[in-house]
């Protein structure tokens, strides 16, 4: 809690109420749902912890180390986890998934697995409280509330159960350090965040432009910014004898960034997100009176542009949330658009089939949800499922682009130092 909230009893009470209610909502989902990737993440960690194979997650080595360390700790505290080692070490993904879901203590293990994300989520709550609105405890508390009850946060962490929150935490910490003008530390932590999840690389130029005061700063901060990735590259080159960067560049996930393109002629093609990203970065660069709120707004614009224009996985939407919750205070309409985004996301995720729809509920009764008719065959029966989903995908893009426009207008006000009207 921040001092300005702590000083006022009514705000302290509200803070505590939001925190408890948020915790309650999170706990309601923790034991019962997960998406297959959670099991894969812990299976790789189990290979390190139970089988001593360190190189099982080459692409995301830092996240893998965190999960391995966490698994190592909980297996001592809760020996029941050891019973799961054959399941976690099972190479056949279908067999391990079935065995995991049919275990009588699947709820306990799922809870233990997800508590790691809860801890990072709580840490993010407290960081976000400090990120903006200095001397405005009411606004800070509202930002806190928007994070605590954010549907995307709850869905991604406690229903979908993905680990993006670890990278988000490091990014928020970097932003907080940037706010406090600890420029080297801020960029260093951002470099760590990039090494954790790679997504924060999108805001690295923004941070460099925001923090740099001299030409020398631009060079030093840029070098520190990519140092995390460079360190991982060196480590993987010597330890695994493989290039991490080229593995990533050739991975399917990198192609997501290039997924929307404009065909010109012969080989000529424009990658729409890359072009849009350059425009966003340049527009930030040319703002003379940069302030921290504008930096946060630009963070929201970058990630909104990403989910608008690129192929993405549902959990990637989490990256827009830390930046958006700040803008909600100044533009209330963005809250409604964000809820609309979430509703549309629930339709868009049908695209990935059973794995992200009915199988998410499998811990409750795996047989029931395996044999239950999936959403895709039902839609296919009446209409082309890809078209159906893409209609909602297009609406999602439209809404996200409109949100970018609203944030852009907010930027103009911030630049002109106009007082904000939260009812806009």
């Amino acid at each position: 809690m921040t001092e300005d909230i702590f000083k006022r009893k009514d705000l302290t009470k509200r803070f505590y109420k939001y925190f408890l209610a948020g915790l309650l909502v999170r706990l309601l989902f923790i034991p019962f749902f997960f998406q297959r990737d959670l099991l894969s993440t812990y299976q790789r960690a189990a290979e390190t912890v139970f089988a001593g194979d360190f190189g099982s997650s080459f692409e995301q080595i830092l996240t893998h180390i965190i999960h391995s360390a966490y698994l190592f700790i909980i297996k001592f505290i809760f020996p029941a986890i050891n019973e799961f080692s054959p399941i976690l070490l099972e190479e056949d993904t279908w067999i391990s998934w079935l065995a995991f879901n049919s275990s009588y203590n699947v709820f306990t293990v799922l809870t233990l697995f997800k508590i790691l994300y809860l801890l990072f989520d709580i840490a993010c709550m407290f960081l976000i409280l400090r990120l903006s609105f200095e001397n405005e405890p009411e606004s800070r508390l509202r930002v806190f509330k928007f994070w605590v009850f954010n549907p995307v946060v709850i869905f991604v962490l406690y229903i979908f159960a993905r680990h993006d929150i670890i990278g988000v935490f490091a990014t928020l910490l970097a932003l907080l350090l940037a706010k406090k003008e600890r420029k080297y530390w801020a960029i260093f932590v951002l470099a760590l965040a990039i090494a954790l999840r790679f997504f924060p690389v999108m805001i690295l130029p923004l941070m460099v432009f925001y923090l740099a005061r001299t030409k020398k700063d631009y060079i030093i901060l840029s070098i520190i910014g990519i140092s995390g990735l460079a360190a991982l590259e060196l480590f993987s080159y010597f330890y695994f004898e493989r290039s991490l960067i080229f593995t990533l560049l050739n991975a399917q996930h990198f192609n997501y960034i290039l997924s929307s393109s404009l065909e010109l002629i012969i080989h000529d093609r424009i990658f729409i997100f890359v072009a849009a990203y350059v425009v966003i970065i340049l527009s930030f660069f040319h703002i003379k009176k940069k302030n921290f709120d504008i930096l946060l707004n630009y963070g929201a614009i970058v990630y909104l542009a990403y989910v608008s224009l690129c192929y993405f996985h549902p959990q990637y939407v989490l990256w827009i949330v830390p930046f958006l919750v700040m803008t909600f205070i100044r533009r209330k309409s963005l809250i409604y658009y964000h809820w609309l985004q979430f509703a549309l996301l629930m339709v868009i995720l049908i695209y990935w089939g059973d794995l992200v729809t009915k199988f998410v509920f499998a811990p409750v009764d795996h047989k029931f949800f395996v044999y239950l008719t999936g959403v895709i065959p039902i839609i296919e029966r009446f209409y082309d499922s890809a078209k159906f989903v893409n209609i909602f995908r297009s609406i999602f893009t439209g809404v996200s682009l409109w949100m970018i426009y609203l944030i852009y207008r907010d930027n103009k006000k911030l630049i002109e130092n106009e007082p904000y009207n939260s009812t806009l």
């Binding site: 009470k13 706990l27 009764d365 047989k367 029931f368 044999y371 008719t373 039902i378 029966r381």
Partner: protein, 237 residues
């Protein structure tokens, strides 16, 4: 313009419809509900003394083949959505069938009536193999135990008596909660503490005997925990 009363009624209807949909989604293909061309498997049920057997596939080429026999007499049969390439041979003791489904053919089936019988024996195959979990006998996931299986005359009657908590997914969910009871009680206790804390700062703080309310809340929580134990024990047994 809708009056307040009408709006309330409309809300009630909408809430009813929504809960119905949720219930349907939760219970899945409850009874013999299936979506031709989307659901996959056999669906067997009894209606007005006739036994119905239908099958559906998710618009992929699939072959459904089977034999049905009885110790009584098959007196009549009626085909449903039968195509030229589908075959059926019937006698008083047995029915043999073979049917294919595809991108344009969503489901087939037939019904038959019986007399003087104590059981019906089924041998049902999908794509020349057995997939027992795809055979729904009177309800979703009411599956047989053996490849060739029998159902007694009163099977469907008995099945109707099965209560909601004895059916999937509830039966499995309650089983897991009960067999992992230390987790369940700790989990409920933590949820209870959070709820009591929310009540403490929002409701109890405004009351005079604050401490008393807290003591009462925790007593209720312990009572809930004990009740949950007995309720789960009952539901699982």
């Amino acid at each position: 313009m809708l009056t307040g009363k009408k709006t309330f009624k409309l809300k009630k209807i909408l809430a009813g419809l929504l809960s119905g949909l949720i219930l349907l989604a939760l219970t899945g293909c409850s009874g013999v509900f299936y979506i031709p061309g989307a659901s996959y498997g056999y669906y067997v049920w009894e209606e007005e003394g006739n036994i119905f057997i239908e099958w559906s596939a998710d618009r992929k080429d699939s072959e459904f083949e089977g034999e049905i026999s009885t110790d009584g007499r098959i007196t009549s049969h009626e085909l449903k959505e039968w195509e030229d390439e589908d075959t059926i041979m019937t006698s008083e003791e047995e029915i043999k069938f073979m049917a294919v489904l595809g991108s344009e053919d969503y489901s087939d089936g037939f019904s038959f009536s019986l007399e003087d019988y104590s059981y019906v024996e089924f041998d049902l195959k999908i794509n020349d193999g057995y997939d027992l979990s795809r055979i729904n006998l009177g309800g979703f996931l009411e599956t047989p135990g053996d490849n060739i299986f029998r159902i007694e005359k009163d099977y469907f009657e008995k099945l109707q008596k099965k209560l909601w908590y004895q059916k999937r997914p509830f039966s499995e969910f309650f089983y897991k909660l009960f067999s992992n009871k230390y987790f369940t009680f700790l989990y409920l206790f933590i949820l209870g503490i959070i709820i009591i804390e929310i009540l403490r700062i929002t409701v109890f703080d405004r009351r005079k005997r604050k401490l008393l309310w807290i003591v009462v809340s925790y007593t209720v929580l312990v009572a809930v925990e004990i009740s949950v134990y007995f309720i789960l024990k009952f539901l699982v047994s």
